[in-house]
Protein backbone atom coordinates (compact mmCIF):
# COMPACT_ATOMS: atom_id res chain seq x y z
CA UNK A 1 0.00 0.00 0.00
CA UNK A 2 1.31 3.46 -0.77
CA UNK A 3 1.22 6.16 1.84
CA UNK A 4 -1.49 7.90 -0.17
CA UNK A 5 -3.67 4.78 -0.08
CA UNK A 6 -3.05 4.36 3.64
CA UNK A 7 -4.06 7.91 4.32
CA UNK A 8 -7.39 7.58 2.49
CA UNK A 9 -8.50 4.83 4.88
CA UNK A 10 -7.58 6.51 8.14
CA UNK A 11 -8.10 9.80 9.83
CA UNK A 12 -4.85 11.12 11.35
CA UNK A 13 -5.11 13.41 14.35
CA UNK A 14 -5.04 17.15 13.73
CA UNK A 15 -2.46 19.30 15.56
CA UNK A 16 -5.11 20.16 18.11
CA UNK A 17 -6.04 16.51 18.58
CA UNK A 18 -2.42 15.58 19.17
CA UNK A 19 -2.31 18.32 21.81
CA UNK A 20 -5.55 16.97 23.29
CA UNK A 21 -4.04 13.48 23.61
CA UNK A 22 -0.91 14.78 25.34
CA UNK A 23 -3.14 16.82 27.66
CA UNK A 24 -4.65 13.57 28.99
CA UNK A 25 -1.22 12.72 30.44
CA UNK A 26 -0.87 16.01 32.34
CA UNK A 27 -1.19 15.28 36.04
CA UNK A 28 -3.05 17.31 38.65
CA UNK A 29 -0.67 19.38 40.77
CA UNK A 30 2.22 19.06 38.34
CA UNK A 31 4.78 21.51 36.94
CA UNK A 32 4.77 21.42 33.15
CA UNK A 33 6.75 23.10 30.38
CA UNK A 34 5.17 23.36 26.93
CA UNK A 35 7.50 23.85 23.97
CA UNK A 36 7.00 26.07 20.95
CA UNK A 37 4.43 24.90 18.37
CA UNK A 38 1.85 22.15 18.93
CA UNK A 39 2.83 21.65 22.60
CA UNK A 40 1.71 25.19 23.45
CA UNK A 41 -1.84 24.08 22.57
CA UNK A 42 -1.86 21.38 25.27
CA UNK A 43 -2.99 23.78 28.02
CA UNK A 44 -6.24 24.31 26.10
CA UNK A 45 -7.19 20.66 26.59
CA UNK A 46 -6.28 20.06 30.22
CA UNK A 47 -9.52 19.75 32.17
CA UNK A 48 -9.99 22.64 34.60
CA UNK A 49 -10.23 20.46 37.70
CA UNK A 50 -6.54 19.65 37.28
CA UNK A 51 -4.45 22.42 38.85
CA UNK A 52 -1.34 22.61 36.70
CA UNK A 53 1.51 25.11 37.06
CA UNK A 54 2.92 25.95 33.64
CA UNK A 55 6.58 26.93 33.44
CA UNK A 56 8.02 29.09 30.71
CA UNK A 57 11.81 29.14 30.35
CA UNK A 58 11.98 32.92 30.02
CA UNK A 59 11.24 33.08 33.75
CA UNK A 60 7.62 32.37 34.66
CA UNK A 61 5.71 29.85 36.71
CA UNK A 62 1.93 29.91 36.60
CA UNK A 63 1.48 30.92 32.96
CA UNK A 64 -2.19 31.53 32.19
CA UNK A 65 -4.23 31.88 28.98
CA UNK A 66 -3.78 34.70 26.44
CA UNK A 67 -4.91 38.10 27.72
CA UNK A 68 -8.33 39.53 26.89
CA UNK A 69 -8.22 42.23 24.23
CA UNK A 70 -7.15 45.51 25.83
CA UNK A 71 -5.54 43.70 28.77
CA UNK A 72 -2.25 42.80 27.04
CA UNK A 73 1.04 43.44 28.88
CA UNK A 74 3.92 43.55 26.37
CA UNK A 75 6.41 42.34 28.99
CA UNK A 76 4.34 39.26 29.74
CA UNK A 77 5.25 36.70 27.08
CA UNK A 78 5.86 32.95 27.09
CA UNK A 79 8.80 31.10 25.54
CA UNK A 80 7.02 31.23 22.16
CA UNK A 81 6.96 35.04 22.55
CA UNK A 82 3.15 34.99 22.67
CA UNK A 83 1.35 37.37 24.98
CA UNK A 84 0.08 35.48 28.03
CA UNK A 85 -1.26 36.14 31.52
CA UNK A 86 -0.01 35.07 34.94
CA UNK A 87 -2.28 33.11 37.28
CA UNK A 88 -2.67 33.92 40.96
CA UNK A 89 0.25 32.14 42.62
CA UNK A 90 2.49 32.71 39.61
CA UNK A 91 5.96 34.18 39.93
CA UNK A 92 8.73 35.79 37.88
CA UNK A 93 12.42 34.89 38.14
CA UNK A 94 15.58 35.24 36.10
CA UNK A 95 16.85 32.93 33.36
CA UNK A 96 19.48 31.28 35.60
CA UNK A 97 16.80 30.35 38.14
CA UNK A 98 14.49 29.21 35.34
CA UNK A 99 17.11 26.90 33.85
CA UNK A 100 18.01 25.62 37.32
CA UNK A 101 14.41 24.42 37.53
CA UNK A 102 14.76 22.76 34.13
CA UNK A 103 18.18 21.09 34.40
CA UNK A 104 17.67 20.35 38.09
CA UNK A 105 14.75 17.97 37.48
CA UNK A 106 12.22 20.16 39.27
CA UNK A 107 9.64 20.06 36.46
CA UNK A 108 7.23 17.12 36.33
CA UNK A 109 7.01 16.92 32.56
CA UNK A 110 7.88 18.70 29.35
CA UNK A 111 6.25 18.42 25.95
CA UNK A 112 8.23 19.36 22.85
CA UNK A 113 8.13 19.20 19.10
CA UNK A 114 10.80 17.30 17.15
CA UNK A 115 12.25 16.75 13.69
CA UNK A 116 13.29 13.19 14.52
CA UNK A 117 13.32 10.72 17.41
CA UNK A 118 15.33 7.50 17.59
CA UNK A 119 14.34 4.15 19.06
CA UNK A 120 16.70 4.92 21.98
CA UNK A 121 14.81 8.12 22.75
CA UNK A 122 17.42 10.35 21.13
CA UNK A 123 15.89 13.70 20.25
CA UNK A 124 16.66 15.94 17.25
CA UNK A 125 14.75 19.19 17.24
CA UNK A 126 17.13 22.12 16.83
CA UNK A 127 18.81 21.78 13.44
CA UNK A 128 18.52 19.84 10.21
CA UNK A 129 21.25 18.97 7.73
CA UNK A 130 20.19 21.95 5.61
CA UNK A 131 23.01 24.47 6.08
CA UNK A 132 20.65 27.21 4.96
CA UNK A 133 18.28 26.71 7.90
CA UNK A 134 19.37 28.88 10.80
CA UNK A 135 19.84 26.61 13.83
CA UNK A 136 18.03 27.53 17.06
CA UNK A 137 18.17 25.71 20.37
CA UNK A 138 16.49 27.87 22.99
CA UNK A 139 15.67 25.78 26.04
CA UNK A 140 15.30 22.44 24.24
CA UNK A 141 18.62 20.91 25.29
CA UNK A 142 18.31 21.92 28.95
CA UNK A 143 14.69 20.80 29.14
CA UNK A 144 15.41 17.44 27.60
CA UNK A 145 18.43 16.58 29.77
CA UNK A 146 16.78 17.86 32.95
CA UNK A 147 13.18 16.78 32.85
CA UNK A 148 11.88 13.58 34.39
CA UNK A 149 9.26 13.03 31.66
CA UNK A 150 9.94 14.22 28.13
CA UNK A 151 7.03 13.82 25.70
CA UNK A 152 7.37 14.59 21.99
CA UNK A 153 4.51 15.73 19.79
CA UNK A 154 5.01 15.42 16.04
CA UNK A 155 3.43 14.05 12.92
CA UNK A 156 4.52 10.54 12.06
CA UNK A 157 5.93 11.79 8.74
CA UNK A 158 7.44 15.04 7.51
CA UNK A 159 5.45 17.18 5.07
CA UNK A 160 7.29 15.52 2.16
CA UNK A 161 6.67 12.01 3.49
CA UNK A 162 9.99 11.30 5.22
CA UNK A 163 10.06 9.08 8.29
CA UNK A 164 10.75 10.79 11.63
CA UNK A 165 10.95 7.75 13.93
CA UNK A 166 14.32 6.27 13.15
CA UNK A 167 16.91 3.75 14.28
CA UNK A 168 19.35 6.64 14.60
CA UNK A 169 18.60 10.31 14.04
CA UNK A 170 20.26 11.73 10.95
CA UNK A 171 19.93 15.30 12.18
CA UNK A 172 22.11 16.82 14.91
CA UNK A 173 21.01 15.60 18.33
CA UNK A 174 19.40 17.73 21.00
CA UNK A 175 20.03 15.08 23.65
CA UNK A 176 20.58 11.34 23.86
CA UNK A 177 18.10 8.88 25.34
CA UNK A 178 15.72 11.41 26.82
CA UNK A 179 12.34 10.95 25.11
CA UNK A 180 9.89 8.87 27.15
CA UNK A 181 6.72 9.06 25.01
CA UNK A 182 5.81 10.00 21.45
CA UNK A 183 2.47 11.53 20.52
CA UNK A 184 2.02 11.40 16.74
CA UNK A 185 -0.96 11.95 14.48
CA UNK A 186 -1.28 8.15 14.32
CA UNK A 187 -0.23 6.67 17.63
CA UNK A 188 1.07 6.96 21.17
CA UNK A 189 4.42 5.22 21.44
CA UNK A 190 6.55 4.67 24.56
CA UNK A 191 10.31 4.57 24.51
CA UNK A 192 11.30 1.64 26.75
CA UNK A 193 14.61 -0.07 27.47
CA UNK A 194 13.33 -2.88 25.20
CA UNK A 195 12.53 -0.52 22.32
CA UNK A 196 9.48 1.34 21.06
CA UNK A 197 6.10 0.12 22.28
CA UNK A 198 2.83 1.24 20.67
CA UNK A 199 0.28 1.93 23.40
CA UNK A 200 -2.44 3.43 21.24
CA UNK A 201 -3.16 3.70 17.52
CA UNK A 202 -5.93 5.33 15.59
CA UNK A 203 -8.94 3.47 14.20
CA UNK A 204 -8.45 1.43 11.01
CA UNK A 205 -4.66 1.71 11.17
CA UNK A 206 -3.11 -1.74 10.85
CA UNK A 207 -0.06 -2.24 13.07
CA UNK A 208 1.90 -3.45 10.03
CA UNK A 209 1.15 -0.18 8.30
CA UNK A 210 2.21 1.86 11.34
CA UNK A 211 5.46 -0.15 11.36
CA UNK A 212 5.99 0.87 7.71
CA UNK A 213 5.82 4.48 8.88
CA UNK A 214 8.63 4.00 11.38
CA UNK A 215 12.19 3.02 10.52
CA UNK A 216 12.66 1.89 14.11
CA UNK A 217 11.11 -1.43 15.06
CA UNK A 218 7.79 -1.08 16.90
CA UNK A 219 6.12 -3.56 19.21
CA UNK A 220 2.39 -3.47 19.85
CA UNK A 221 1.63 -3.52 23.57
CA UNK A 222 -0.51 -6.42 24.71
CA UNK A 223 -2.91 -3.97 26.28
CA UNK A 224 -2.89 -1.48 23.39
CA UNK A 225 -6.04 0.48 22.81
CA UNK A 226 -7.57 2.63 20.13
CA UNK A 227 -6.70 6.31 20.05
CA UNK A 228 -10.05 8.04 19.63
CA UNK A 229 -9.81 11.83 19.87
CA UNK A 230 -12.82 14.10 20.17
CA UNK A 231 -13.76 16.30 17.21
CA UNK A 232 -11.93 19.60 17.64
CA UNK A 233 -12.54 22.49 15.25
Amino acid sequence: MSITEILTNIKPLSRKQIAWRAAQDVVDGSYVNLGIGIPTLIANYVVPDKEVVYHSENGLLGVGPPPKPGKEALDLVNASKQLVTLRAGGSYFNTAESFAMMRGKHLTSVFMGAFQVSEHGDLANWATNDKGLMPSIGGAMDLSVGCKKVGVLMNQLTQDGQLRILKECSYPLTAKGVVKRLYTDLAVIDVTPAGLVVREKIVNLEFAVLQQLSEAKLRLADDWCELVPPEIL
Binding site: D28, G29, Y31, E51, V53, H55, L61, G62, L86, A88, G89, G90, S91, Y92, F93, A96, E97, F99, A100, M101, M102, R103, G104, K105, H106, L107, V145, G146
Partner: protein, 224 residues
Protein backbone atom coordinates in the same frame (compact mmCIF):
# COMPACT_ATOMS: atom_id res chain seq x y z
CA UNK B 1 -5.53 21.18 43.61
CA UNK B 2 -2.23 22.10 45.16
CA UNK B 3 -2.09 22.67 48.90
CA UNK B 4 1.22 22.11 50.60
CA UNK B 5 0.04 22.99 54.11
CA UNK B 6 0.34 20.35 56.81
CA UNK B 7 -1.57 20.42 60.07
CA UNK B 8 1.35 20.03 62.46
CA UNK B 9 5.11 19.68 62.75
CA UNK B 10 4.82 15.93 63.14
CA UNK B 11 2.62 15.64 60.06
CA UNK B 12 5.18 17.74 58.17
CA UNK B 13 7.95 15.28 59.01
CA UNK B 14 5.76 12.17 58.65
CA UNK B 15 7.37 9.44 56.55
CA UNK B 16 10.36 11.51 55.48
CA UNK B 17 12.86 11.21 58.31
CA UNK B 18 15.16 8.24 58.78
CA UNK B 19 18.21 7.31 60.83
CA UNK B 20 21.18 8.47 58.78
CA UNK B 21 19.29 11.24 56.96
CA UNK B 22 21.18 14.29 55.72
CA UNK B 23 19.52 17.57 56.67
CA UNK B 24 20.18 21.07 55.43
CA UNK B 25 19.14 23.69 57.96
CA UNK B 26 18.59 27.32 56.94
CA UNK B 27 19.66 30.26 59.04
CA UNK B 28 22.62 32.43 60.00
CA UNK B 29 23.08 32.87 63.73
CA UNK B 30 19.49 32.71 64.95
CA UNK B 31 18.02 34.53 61.91
CA UNK B 32 16.09 32.09 59.74
CA UNK B 33 16.69 29.01 61.86
CA UNK B 34 13.62 26.68 61.81
CA UNK B 35 13.70 25.92 65.53
CA UNK B 36 10.26 24.30 65.63
CA UNK B 37 11.11 21.89 62.79
CA UNK B 38 14.41 21.03 64.49
CA UNK B 39 12.60 20.29 67.73
CA UNK B 40 10.21 18.15 65.70
CA UNK B 41 13.24 16.17 64.48
CA UNK B 42 14.31 15.77 68.11
CA UNK B 43 10.85 14.49 69.03
CA UNK B 44 10.82 12.14 66.05
CA UNK B 45 13.87 10.38 67.47
CA UNK B 46 16.06 10.01 64.36
CA UNK B 47 19.75 9.24 64.92
CA UNK B 48 23.06 9.36 63.02
CA UNK B 49 22.02 12.53 61.27
CA UNK B 50 24.29 14.62 59.08
CA UNK B 51 23.58 18.35 59.33
CA UNK B 52 24.61 20.99 56.79
CA UNK B 53 24.20 24.49 58.19
CA UNK B 54 26.18 27.72 58.50
CA UNK B 55 26.52 27.55 62.27
CA UNK B 56 26.36 24.73 64.76
CA UNK B 57 23.84 26.13 67.20
CA UNK B 58 24.05 28.21 70.35
CA UNK B 59 22.45 27.74 73.75
CA UNK B 60 20.42 24.58 74.16
CA UNK B 61 17.88 24.74 71.36
CA UNK B 62 17.73 23.95 67.66
CA UNK B 63 20.86 22.26 66.35
CA UNK B 64 22.36 22.43 69.84
CA UNK B 65 19.48 20.35 71.17
CA UNK B 66 20.07 17.67 68.53
CA UNK B 67 23.82 17.71 69.21
CA UNK B 68 23.26 17.50 72.94
CA UNK B 69 20.94 14.51 72.50
CA UNK B 70 23.66 12.67 70.54
CA UNK B 71 21.60 12.53 67.36
CA UNK B 72 24.18 14.01 65.02
CA UNK B 73 27.00 11.98 63.51
CA UNK B 74 28.48 14.73 61.38
CA UNK B 75 28.07 18.46 60.94
CA UNK B 76 29.23 20.44 57.91
CA UNK B 77 29.35 24.17 58.60
CA UNK B 78 31.40 27.29 58.03
CA UNK B 79 31.39 28.91 61.46
CA UNK B 80 30.73 26.74 64.53
CA UNK B 81 32.61 29.10 66.89
CA UNK B 82 30.26 31.59 68.48
CA UNK B 83 29.42 33.16 71.80
CA UNK B 84 27.07 30.64 73.37
CA UNK B 85 28.08 27.71 71.12
CA UNK B 86 28.62 25.64 74.24
CA UNK B 87 27.30 22.29 73.05
CA UNK B 88 29.30 22.03 69.82
CA UNK B 89 32.39 23.30 71.65
CA UNK B 90 32.06 20.61 74.29
CA UNK B 91 31.43 17.68 71.94
CA UNK B 92 34.10 18.89 69.51
CA UNK B 93 36.67 18.91 72.30
CA UNK B 94 35.43 15.53 73.51
CA UNK B 95 35.88 14.21 69.95
CA UNK B 96 32.26 13.10 69.88
CA UNK B 97 31.39 14.49 66.46
CA UNK B 98 32.77 14.67 62.95
CA UNK B 99 33.07 18.42 62.26
CA UNK B 100 33.79 19.54 58.69
CA UNK B 101 34.47 23.27 58.46
CA UNK B 102 34.29 24.74 54.96
CA UNK B 103 34.31 28.30 53.60
CA UNK B 104 30.77 29.63 53.48
CA UNK B 105 30.80 30.43 49.76
CA UNK B 106 31.60 26.85 48.85
CA UNK B 107 28.69 24.94 50.45
CA UNK B 108 26.15 27.48 49.21
CA UNK B 109 27.54 27.13 45.67
CA UNK B 110 27.70 23.33 45.95
CA UNK B 111 24.06 23.30 47.07
CA UNK B 112 23.06 25.59 44.21
CA UNK B 113 25.01 23.36 41.81
CA UNK B 114 22.99 20.32 42.90
CA UNK B 115 19.69 22.19 42.68
CA UNK B 116 20.54 23.49 39.22
CA UNK B 117 21.39 20.06 37.79
CA UNK B 118 25.07 20.85 37.22
CA UNK B 119 27.95 18.45 37.77
CA UNK B 120 30.42 20.55 39.74
CA UNK B 121 32.48 23.74 39.50
CA UNK B 122 35.88 25.29 40.13
CA UNK B 123 36.41 27.92 42.81
CA UNK B 124 39.53 29.88 43.76
CA UNK B 125 38.38 29.74 47.39
CA UNK B 126 40.51 27.43 49.51
CA UNK B 127 43.28 26.98 46.92
CA UNK B 128 46.73 26.99 48.52
CA UNK B 129 45.25 26.23 51.95
CA UNK B 130 44.94 22.98 53.91
CA UNK B 131 41.39 22.66 52.53
CA UNK B 132 42.86 21.89 49.12
CA UNK B 133 44.16 18.55 50.39
CA UNK B 134 42.71 15.66 48.43
CA UNK B 135 40.93 17.96 46.00
CA UNK B 136 41.48 18.28 42.28
CA UNK B 137 43.37 21.51 41.56
CA UNK B 138 43.12 23.19 38.16
CA UNK B 139 45.00 26.21 36.92
CA UNK B 140 42.50 28.58 35.26
CA UNK B 141 43.91 31.80 33.84
CA UNK B 142 47.04 31.25 35.89
CA UNK B 143 45.16 30.92 39.16
CA UNK B 144 44.64 27.77 41.22
CA UNK B 145 41.04 26.60 41.56
CA UNK B 146 39.57 23.67 43.48
CA UNK B 147 36.96 21.31 42.02
CA UNK B 148 33.83 21.16 44.12
CA UNK B 149 30.98 18.70 43.74
CA UNK B 150 27.23 19.22 44.02
CA UNK B 151 25.85 18.85 47.54
CA UNK B 152 22.34 17.49 48.07
CA UNK B 153 20.35 16.27 51.02
CA UNK B 154 17.32 14.27 52.05
CA UNK B 155 15.49 17.09 53.82
CA UNK B 156 15.87 20.84 53.79
CA UNK B 157 14.42 22.47 56.91
CA UNK B 158 13.71 26.14 56.38
CA UNK B 159 11.94 29.08 57.96
CA UNK B 160 10.07 31.66 55.89
CA UNK B 161 7.93 34.64 56.74
CA UNK B 162 4.88 34.16 54.51
CA UNK B 163 3.67 31.41 52.19
CA UNK B 164 0.66 30.51 50.06
CA UNK B 165 -0.82 27.09 49.27
CA UNK B 166 1.43 26.67 46.21
CA UNK B 167 4.44 26.93 48.55
CA UNK B 168 5.60 30.32 47.30
CA UNK B 169 7.78 31.93 49.96
CA UNK B 170 9.02 35.30 51.10
CA UNK B 171 11.47 35.72 53.96
CA UNK B 172 12.00 38.27 56.70
CA UNK B 173 15.01 40.55 56.22
CA UNK B 174 18.36 38.78 56.72
CA UNK B 175 16.59 35.56 57.72
CA UNK B 176 16.65 34.71 53.99
CA UNK B 177 20.35 33.72 53.79
CA UNK B 178 20.81 30.02 52.81
CA UNK B 179 17.14 29.06 52.56
CA UNK B 180 16.26 29.91 48.93
CA UNK B 181 19.21 27.81 47.74
CA UNK B 182 18.74 24.94 50.19
CA UNK B 183 15.14 24.71 48.97
CA UNK B 184 16.41 23.59 45.56
CA UNK B 185 18.67 20.69 46.53
CA UNK B 186 16.60 18.49 48.80
CA UNK B 187 14.66 15.34 48.17
CA UNK B 188 11.99 17.09 50.24
CA UNK B 189 11.88 20.74 51.30
CA UNK B 190 9.96 21.43 54.52
CA UNK B 191 9.23 24.98 55.58
CA UNK B 192 7.90 26.52 58.77
CA UNK B 193 6.24 29.86 58.13
CA UNK B 194 5.01 32.69 60.27
CA UNK B 195 1.94 33.48 58.22
CA UNK B 196 -0.15 31.77 55.57
CA UNK B 197 -1.74 33.98 52.92
CA UNK B 198 -4.23 33.48 50.10
CA UNK B 199 -2.97 32.51 46.65
CA UNK B 200 -2.17 35.69 44.73
CA UNK B 201 -1.44 37.78 47.80
CA UNK B 202 2.33 37.47 47.41
CA UNK B 203 3.42 39.78 44.59
CA UNK B 204 4.70 37.68 41.65
CA UNK B 205 7.77 39.91 41.27
CA UNK B 206 8.61 39.67 44.97
CA UNK B 207 8.30 35.93 45.53
CA UNK B 208 11.76 34.74 46.55
CA UNK B 209 11.26 30.97 46.49
CA UNK B 210 8.74 29.77 43.89
CA UNK B 211 6.56 26.97 45.22
CA UNK B 212 8.04 24.43 42.80
CA UNK B 213 10.89 24.01 45.28
CA UNK B 214 8.68 23.46 48.34
CA UNK B 215 7.08 20.17 49.36
CA UNK B 216 5.44 20.83 52.70
CA UNK B 217 4.59 23.88 54.81
CA UNK B 218 3.61 24.28 58.40
CA UNK B 219 2.30 27.49 59.92
CA UNK B 220 3.95 28.31 63.26
CA UNK B 221 2.98 31.92 63.87
CA UNK B 222 5.49 34.06 65.74
CA UNK B 223 8.19 31.46 66.24
CA UNK B 224 10.61 31.22 69.13
Amino acid sequence: MIDKRMGSISETLQGLLQDGSTLMVGGFGDAGVPFELLHGILDAGARNLTIISNNAGTGNRGISALLNAGRVKKIICSYPRSRGAIVIDRIFKANEIELEVIPQGTPIERIRCAGAGLGGFYTPTGAGTPLAEGKEVRLINGREHLFEEPLRCDLSLLKADRADRWGNLVYSKAARNFSPIMATAAEHTLVQVREFVALGELHPESIVTPGIFVDRLVVIGEAS
